[in-house]
């Protein structure tokens, strides 16, 4: 690496070129409701929300090397608290939202306490078990959670009831949250997590408190999942045990993988891919589950780095060839 290259100008941590690209993407995203139908705007809103969920899972999976099958539960708990606070306790949407985030972070902290000493497949199974406990509580504690039937409520503030304003609000929230996650993984703390992913023993020998780092990383990841959960509760005005079920966690992991583990923003790509695919496939056949399963299998065998990961790999190879000339 030469030391004579001029340092690029950085705006909010990004180079001029990247910031420009981000602005273009944001502008395009903001323009969508002007050309899409109500239903399609709803889909786009879902893509944003699930993109955030996938990214939050990626913080742990891509950057700390631990894949969790319990984030659906964290996501859903936030939704339950938001709907309960709004429909049963009569709180304002803003207060409900904040409570949801706090609840999700708390649940993530509890999960983290129990899970930090495991890794790999055991981590997967433990988070799965913890998620199931949360699901069981939501299903059986009928007095509070409505049990099987779930809970309904009019959660959105009056100015966000229409689909377009709501989409824009979600877009703003998503942009802010994504930026926050991006800064987090690039911070010294985030780099430590990367180090833990690559070699835990080395980090330990360097004196890092690995369990503590993992604990904080998990809790932060849960915080972001909670934001996605609160937005989803507002989107649906409804929450039910299926929102905290294992299937939700699996879907989040799948979206993360489809986009690319460790790419962070791949979460949006993965969410967009899966949600669009589901909409297209369901119009023609009932066999969506088979399509989903086959997609999963193919991704695992042929493109485990996901869409963005594979694109990056192709670009890197292309660049190498170019440099070689």
């Amino acid at each position: 690496m030469t030391g004579t290259e001029p340092q690029p100008i950085r705006i909010v941590g990004m180079t001029g070129r990247s910031a420009g690209a981000v602005l273009v993407v944001l502008a395009l995203a903001a323009a969508l409701p002007l050309v899409l139908s109500k239903y399609q705007v709803g889909l786009a809103t879902e893509i944003l929300i699930f993109g955030v969920l996938a990214m939050s899972i990626d913080i742990l999976a891509g950057f700390a090397g631990r894949t969790s099958l319990g984030h659906g539960a964290i996501f859903g708990v936030s939704g339950y608290v938001v709907v309960y606070a709004s429909a049963q306790a009569g709180l304002s949407p803003a207060s409900a939202f904040v409570l949801g985030m706090i609840a999700a972070t708390a649940v993530a902290a509890v999960f983290a306490l129990l899970a930090v000493r495991t890794s790999g497949v055991y981590f997967l199974l433990l988070t799965l078990a913890l998620g199931m406990i949360v699901w069981g509580i939501c299903l059986r504690w009928t007095q509070v959670t409505g049990g099987e039937n779930g809970m309904r409520g009019d959660v959105r503030p009056a100015f966000l009831v229409e689909h377009r304003p709501f989409y824009w609000a979600v877009l703003v929230a998503t942009a802010l949250v994504s930026y926050a996650m991006w800064r987090f993984v690039r911070s010294p703390f985030g780099l430590t997590l990367l180090g833990i992913r690559d070699s835990e023993s080395r980090m330990k020998s360097l004196g890092y408190n690995v369990p503590l780092h993992l604990f904080v990383g998990f809790t932060v990841s849960g915080f972001f999942a909670g934001i996605a959960g609160a937005l989803y509760a507002m989107f649906n005005n409804f929450v039910s045990p299926s929102t905290v079920a294992l299937a939700q966690s699996v879907e989040g992991v799948l979206m993360m993988i489809a986009g690319g583990v460790g790419t962070l923003f791949g979460g949006f790509v993965g969410a967009a891919a899966i949600i669009t695919l589901e909409n297209v496939v369901s119009a023609y056949t009932e066999r969506w589950q088979t399509v989903l399963g086959v997609t999963f299998i193919l991704i695992m065998i042929c493109a485990p780095e996901g869409i963005i990961g594979t694109l990056r790999a192709i670009a890197a190879r292309g660049e190498e060839r170019y440099k070689g000339n």
Binding site: G42, E148, N149, R152, F238, S240, S242, S282, A283
Partner: protein, 419 residues
């Protein structure tokens, strides 16, 4: 048949019907198809019921050659996956993308409640022949949610409690799936039974999809009761009935069931374990009423199985909508008029062989049959009526206003009269 095939077929029929008529006249006469969104669990826990719901609707549409009030019918089927989140998503798709004039279907109460909450906001007419959550036509009534050809959970167990008293039963125990539908059915029975002097000795609630009933059956066997009422649906019903027999309780303690427990969808894969179980329902596929017989025979000829509650209810539901639309010249776009007409329509062509009408809360009034599972000549089992209660309302003999002052049936409130 999936949506793509159905669209192809209906387009072909459309084209065929259109030949020979001047184009501009055709355009005025057609006024576009009536788009009906059918939500049904084609995958997930109650997948078998979901498939029969589709069959029930298609059976009717085939009979009327896919035309109602002079307009073609476009049926768009979506899978709610036995799951409220998916149901909500599909409802959105049907209304916002499919531009459906109405929604019909759903099986599980939680899917119905999720969709009902959504259509409350859009005003789309939503017909629920199968969803039985009491409150949708009682305390939490939504104007555009109508239970055509359906029933509220406690409506049949009220007279059943009365019948149990008449059999001389003094003590009953109940075992039920632990969710609203179960609470409401048991509550209906418990209230009437205890008000007539009977005693509910104990009630067992188990989670949906309980594989092993042995813990409960052991306790039930020890109680000294005259009968056991089992409120079960789907796979739970299959297992309870089998395990009841295998643990030797059959023949020792009479088994009374919710109508879902002895529905064709359950008993058609069972053997002698289901023989003799008694339930209360509006529909008994083995009834000797000529209209019912014709329906059962034609359905069986077409689909190779005796019709269940799901097929029957959806068939009646879509028939009801069709009769209403015929009365108003097919103008389904006029929502208020459409809903009002449906509420006032009396179903004349019902497979029950009797005209059915809705009460002032949008819930049908039926003759309730006490029916028994018996073996047919060809070895299959079906339900045959043994007693009848005419004109039963969802409020039984209670005054509606007073009845609605008591809380809805739940695990904690079963309407039990303290002795």
């Amino acid at each position: 048949m999936n949506r793509r095939q159905f669209l192809k077929n209906s387009t072909a029929a459309f084209a065929a019907a259109g030949t020979g008529v001047a184009p501009w006249r055709r355009a005025i006469a057609q006024a576009g198809p009536i788009r009906i969104g059918l939500l049904t669990p084609l995958t997930g826990v109650v997948a078998s019921g979901g498939k029969e719901m589709v069959e029930g609707v298609q059976f009717y549409l085939d009979q009327v050659k896919n035309e109602i009030a002079g307009r073609k019918v476009e049926l768009i089927i979506e899978d709610d996956a036995s799951n409220p989140d998916t149901a909500l998503q599909k409802a959105r798709r049907l209304v916002e993308q499919g531009n459906c004039h109405m929604l019909i279907g759903d099986l599980l109460a939680n899917t119905g409640l999720a969709v009902a909450n959504y259509v409350k906001g859009t005003g789309t007419p939503y017909f629920i022949p199968i969803i039985a959550a009491d409150d949708l036509t009682q305390r939490q009534r939504i104007k555009n949610v109508i239970r055509v050809a359906g029933y509220s959970a406690s409506a049949f167990t009220h007279p059943f409690g009365d019948w149990a008293l008449k059999q001389g039963y003094k003590k009953i125990a109940t075992i039920s799936q632990d969710y609203t539908f179960g609470h409401e059915q048991c509550g209906g029975l418990a209230q009437v039974f205890t008000e007539g002097g009977g005693e509910i000795v104990q009630q067992f609630w188990h989670p949906l999809n309980t594989a092993d009933f042995s813990p409960y059956l052991g306790q039930l066997a020890d109680l000294k009761v005259d009968a056991i009422f089992a409120m079960e649906t789907g796979a739970d019903a299959t297992r309870l009935i089998q395990q009841y027999a295998s643990f030797g309780l059959k023949g020792k303690i009479p088994l009374l069931g919710a109508m879902n427990a002895t529905d064709q969808s359950v008993i058609r894969t069972l053997g002698e374990e289901c023989d003799g179980i008694i339930a209360a329902a509006h529909f008994a596929e083995g009834s000797d009423n000529p209209v019912t017989q014709k329906f059962s025979k034609e359905y069986e000829a077409k689909y190779g199985k005796i019709p269940s509650l799901y097929g029957f209810s959806m068939y009646s539901g879509i028939m009801w909508i069709a009769e209403a639309l015929e009365k108003m010249g097919g103008k389904v776009e006029d929502r208020d008029a459409f809903i009002d007409t449906v509420l006032k329509t009396e179903l004349t062509g019902s497979p029950l062989g009797k005209t059915v009408k809705l009460d002032s809360y949008g819930n049908p009034i039926y003759d309730v049959q006490i029916r028994k599972v018996v073996k047919r000549a060809d070895g299959k089992y079906w339900n045959v009526p043994i007693a009848s209660y005419p004109g039963v309302s969802q409020f039984w003999k209670y005054d509606p206003e007073t009845y609605m002052k008591q809380p809805p049936y739940s695990r904690t409130f079963q309407g039990i009269k303290k002795a």
